[in-house]
Subunit: 727 residues, 2 copies
């Protein structure tokens, strides 16, 4: 069943059909309601590896651990034949699970208290160190750590990444190596990064090594930590005869990055450059069966999947309704000898994750009624053990027969979530007034009654409203399921997806690249106003159909979503409450932190002649237009977040900024909150916020009851939004 | 000899007289030249205390210690009768030396490796702890420390301050107490300070205690660390019968601060508020012999010294040519029983530090031909042991007979500096084209020959060009004495001093207060352009008189001085090279850090309608007008510093920003550099910079020879300044 071409069908028609659909029928009368703890404890399977004999698989599953005050990862062993599983161990982190070729064991990077190191894992549950680098480097947004992005839970890294040669005799690995603090005087360009410093940091380099059958390691190369490819994808390599191919990021003028594909000969020690690349869309090296680079091109509802070669030739595999290389998909697994690969796919429209087998003969899509998001395969690519999940389907492990395309359930990943009666969440595609299509879901209140108008909340985060289960990357601290349990209609709405038009694609590319065309005003319209119009039109659709009370509509989004929320409140009068999560991009004060991302949006910095562009579009400079109460929940309280708060406050718009601290003063909460107590409080704060502004409930489960009085006062002073246009 | 009314006399006349003056005559043919190490090792006497029997004094003297990589403090004992001294110990810090009343011992706060604690110090050299608070708090610009200003060398504090009752039976003390990290969610106003965070920090409170004769301590009060009075002046109290009077800072809307004078009764435990105060000019409580508050009022060349009382009455002591309460002066020492106090004074014009004895009969000024900057007195205020120093006179300890006003030399503080042949440094006052007078010194090249025109460097830092020896607070990393040894004329020029006119005083007060009147444009003119004109006119005077080559003039200043330097390069074409030290104020990006100080200068923030005021005046927004090469040496690389660098770079102005790191990645270099290696390199960098741009020397003692090529390239691309107007 494909959902992504439903644009134009009235939602009511879909809802009428809902009673007949298997998903809702199955859960309608059975099971219990969602609790906040259920949302907190939604598990995420991060990796899977199948054993050589295909009898066992191991997988890592991450979930909040309130006692530990952080997420913890369970490593579980699945008996594929018996369809049973047991937990081998729990760790702070587990990454890159792989079968060790030529053995029945696996390897994996695990943090068992000594930082991330490489271990051998046996089906017995025994674990032994394979490679330990005691000189670990602390990473994450913490004091004296290597800053590697706000999303990383602070931890220590010894071994950064690795991969086995297909024969199991050679081991490629990357170590993170501390650069001793040389206390050097810095000049000019070297000083600039310090201006945005929010914590102390350390320096580190990445060393690439190859260990041969004789146990000797050769150092291949040292990369600076500014090479994001080295930092995040040092194990993404290809074994090609005596050569190991990998990609490095080189210093370049393009904001999208410039890269080289390198090949290192393990016999001669020679290095050669295979290709120059830029503005990459994926961390993976997508090598096709013909030796070229796989990718999808063109725009539209079906994209051309093609292999391109160094000499410019192309080979087309035909047109398909998916993209590849998406980090949320099952990735790419290659058997070079068989000239075959299994690709994780992501369908267009209402995105679902699937698989496609590609060989010299062509492409075989494996279709399924839920997403397959993570997989481990046997070497011959005949069998995969995958995570199956869906918007209303808790994750389980399934066995995929690659040849037949059949999917058989093995074990549940989370019995706790199997107990919950699924909510009705209908995929939908809305076409907005400008003709752009946005995909998403309508989540109905638990006991939805036709004919009743419900308050509604739009939740948005780029393209993450897809067929995955209660995805934190989509819903963040917005407890979508609890909203539905409490009588809200929740619209999970994506931005209009870029592949639907050349114009949109060009705008996204300009933003990534750091320069137009198109011009700033067009970029603003296509990448932000376009989304806001999609949300408005989606709400008005549901209002016309009698589902939604247009006078009680809220909007919530974090990160990319917070940009849309902040633009929505300045450009629309529809929303009566907003929650904007850990954002700040688009505000003038953010220019300091990511000038290259601002330039295509505004033409330059805010203190240049481009100030007028900021005045027209930056949310904080348009605070006087806002009638929507705005809550900001933030992880590190950056200047643009305060800038918006101050501007709204000055304009008498009800607003609050809530800062959620890190585990200690020495570290920050992460962009996607990782501290269970913070997550619980932030979710409850959102419930209280929307209950207060949309439903006038001031005595609910407010986590900070003292704030209610403030909200009352702000409400009394505020300029309310005009009454909604009745459909 | 008073220098401050010399305005209008040609410098040449002064110089003609120079050969006859004792200072230069004494050193002319004897002694050696200055070295960089001499500047590095200039000592600063931080405190002095005399023993009860007046036979001994102890004093603390701070100097760079290259081995320790930081300043260290020697505690020395002086035998007053024998005029000998010996070092008792060295420590990381020594503060608040006091005789213990009723004993022959002293007390002092010292950091002997356990943080700042209170010790008893005996003339034998023995030291024993009096009060130890093991729960110390790290302070300074370092990770997980209490940020108490960029000038504090990172250290740990147990006991923050103390004072003995005159009878020695009662001990007032303040402890810095860590506030456990409660990991609390912050809201709104509590979030705002985080936006300017550059490092992690901890929270602390200040507890005030009074310990009685029975050894029992009562807690008087707890103050937050946001109370700057508590943090910096917790020991500045008055003993008044059973009451202890002290000042607290209260949260208030005035940028200048709002304060209360409190009185705590040690018998009843009652607290009362004696007075509300605001916009204080000093941390000291200047209680006069009549029980009122001492202060100088009016403007002009002689100020009225008066005592004001709670009921509004005033008592005038007459008019004098000095200010009191200056933290650089010898302070205030009170004997309440005798209704007598000795005040440290600072004269107007070319400032020199002196003493004034004040009692009910009136005021007696003690005049001397050098400054008396730090003193310790006996209880009856008959004798003081003071530091004597001058612009060309290394510090020594002297005995001051208060009744006679006589000064007798005791011991040298720094024999090393006594060996140096003093440079000729003539005080002077310049009246600029607008009629405002600025004071300063002309330091002549070592072998100055009349009739030769020399390259010149103006060094400026507010009002610190005064009669102290090679003062780091004035000359920072600008090696004034080495410049003179190398053939530069150095002009040490202050801002026009505020007390000379009501208009100037009002402008300074508006800046401190955070709001006008006067209007922003007037403030800019009086507080910045006024200074720049003083510098220009001083240089042109010397040029007219044939001393200075007007085509080879540089300017240097840090902090307040850097503001003047940055305005100078945008408003004047006179300067051929500039060195701007750890500044940034006036740049738009600095608004975030000190909005209240910006508001009176620009009217508001840079993204408001006040952007035009910034465009007219902010140095970075006027980079296109700059023809002067600008070096910035910075301690923490804040955004406004980078903003200026970027703007100058974009305008093709030769510029460099050099960042000097802290002792480790966990701490920063301080605003006035405290790391000896940084100071040496920064001084050498300044020599190389001015030698290159003013004299075309590119092969000198450059500490970073690799930079010379960059300077050549920048010079080749740059738009040079127009030729100077020949006098």
């Amino acid at each position: 069943m494909r959902n992504h071409l439903r644009a134009g069908l009235p939602v009511a028609a879909l809802l009428a059909a809902a009673a007949l659909s298997p998903a809702s029928a199955a859960g309608e009368s059975k099971g219990r309601a969602w609790t906040l703890e259920d949302i907190l404890l939604v598990p995420e399977v991060t990796d899977i590896a199948l054993s050589r004999d295909k009898r066992f698989a191991i997988y890592s599953v991450e979930a909040a651990d309130s006692t530990a005050g952080r997420p913890r990862v369970a490593l579980r062993l699945v008996d594929v034949t018996a369809r049973t599983q047991r937990t081998l161990l729990t760790a702070d982190a587990v990454k890159l699970l792989r079968p060790i070729p030529g053995t029945d064991d696996w390897s994996g990077l695990m943090d068992l208290g000594e930082g991330l190191q490489l271990y051998r894992i046996m089906a017995s549950g025994a674990v032994e160190p394979l490679l330990v680098n005691v000189d670990t480097v602390p990473v994450g947004r913490a004091d004296l750590s290597l800053a590697i992005g706000g999303g990383t839970v602070p931890h220590r890294v010894g071994v950064l990444a690795y991969d086995w040669a297909p024969d199991g005799q050679w081991l490629w690995y990357a170590l993170l190596k501390p650069v001793p603090n040389a206390r050097h005087i810095r000049f000019d360009e070297e000083v600039r990064p310090l201006q945005a410093r929010r914590r102390s940091s350390v320096e580190a380099e990445i060393d690439y090594y190859l260990r041969g059958p004789d146990g000797r390691s050769d150092k291949v190369m040292t990369r600076p930590s500014s090479d994001r490819m080295a930092l995040h994808a040092a194990g993404n390599i290809l074994w090609h005869g005596d050569e190991i191919q990998f990609r490095i990021e080189t210093p370049g003028s393009s904001a999208g990055g410039t890269y080289e594909v390198r090949a290192w000969n393990r016999v001669t020690g020679n290095m050669r450059t295979l290709a120059d690349e830029h503005d990459l869309q994926t961390l993976w090296i997508l090598r096709g069966p013909r030796g070229g680079t796989l990718g999808t091109t063109e725009t539209g509802d079906r994209l051309e999947l093609a292999e391109t070669f160094a000499d410019g030739r192309r080979y087309s595999y035909g047109h398909f309704g998916f993209t590849i290389g998406d980090l949320r998909s099952a990735g790419i697994t290659v058997n070079a000898k068989l000239h075959r690969a299994v690709l994780g796919t992501r369908s267009l429209g209402n995105p679902r994750y699937g698989l496609a087998v590609i060989d010299k003969r062509g492409v075989l899509e494996i279709r399924h009624d839920a997403s397959l998001t993570r997989c481990g395969f046997d070497a011959a690519l005949t069998v995969g053990i995958c995570v199956e999940e869906g918007m209303s389907r808790p994750p389980s492990l399934v066995q995929v027969d690659i040849a037949k395309g059949s999917v058989t359930r093995l074990v549940s990943v989370s019995p706790r979530h199997d107990e919950i009666a699924p909510l009705v969440a209908r995929p939908h595609i809305w076409r907005n007034r400008d003709g752009y299509r946005a995909a998403g879901y309508v989540v109905l209140p638990r006991n939805y009654r036709a004919g009743t108008r419900y308050p509604a909340i739009v939740v948005t985060h780029g393209g993450d409203a897809d067929d995955r289960f209660s995805e934190i990357g989509n819903q963040w601290n917005y407890p979508v399921q609890l909203f539905a349990e409490r009588g809200y209609i929740v619209l999970l709405v994506n931005d209009p997806w870029p592949q639907q038009s050349d114009e949109l694609m060009a705008a996204y590319n300009a933003w990534i690249r750091g320069s137009g065309p198109p011009d700033p005003e067009t970029l603003q319209r296509l990448l932000w106003i376009n989304g806001v119009r999609s949300f408005e039109d989606a709400v008005l659709d549901l209002s016309r159909e009698g589902l939604v009370d247009p006078g009680r509509v809220g909007i919530a989004g974090y990160s990319r979503g917070s940009q849309l929320v902040n633009v929505a409140v300045t450009q629309s009068k529809l929303f009566r409450a907003a929650s904007s999560g850990d954002g700040g991009f688009l505000e003038p004060a953010g220019y300091l932190y990511s000038a290259a991302s601002y330039d295509p949006v505004y033409g330059g910095g805010p203190l240049s002649d481009h100030i007028d562009a900021y005045r027209k579009f930056a949310p904080s400079l348009n605070a006087a237009k806002v009638c929507t109460p705005v809550l900001q929940q933030v992880a590190s309280a950056s200047p643009p977040q305060i800038e918006l708060y101050d501007a709204l406050r000055a304009a008498m718009v009800p607003t609050q900024i809530s800062y959620y601290p890190g585990a200690s003063a020495a570290s920050d909460e992460t962009h996607i909150f990782h501290i269970p107590s913070n997550r619980m409080l932030a979710m409850r704060e959102n419930i209280a916020w929307f209950d207060f502004w949309l439903r006038g409930i001031g005595d609910g489960d407010a986590p900070f009851p003292g704030r209610l009085g403030q909200w009352e006062q702000m409400a009394a002073r505020a300029q309310p939004c005009p009454p909604p246009v009745t459909p």
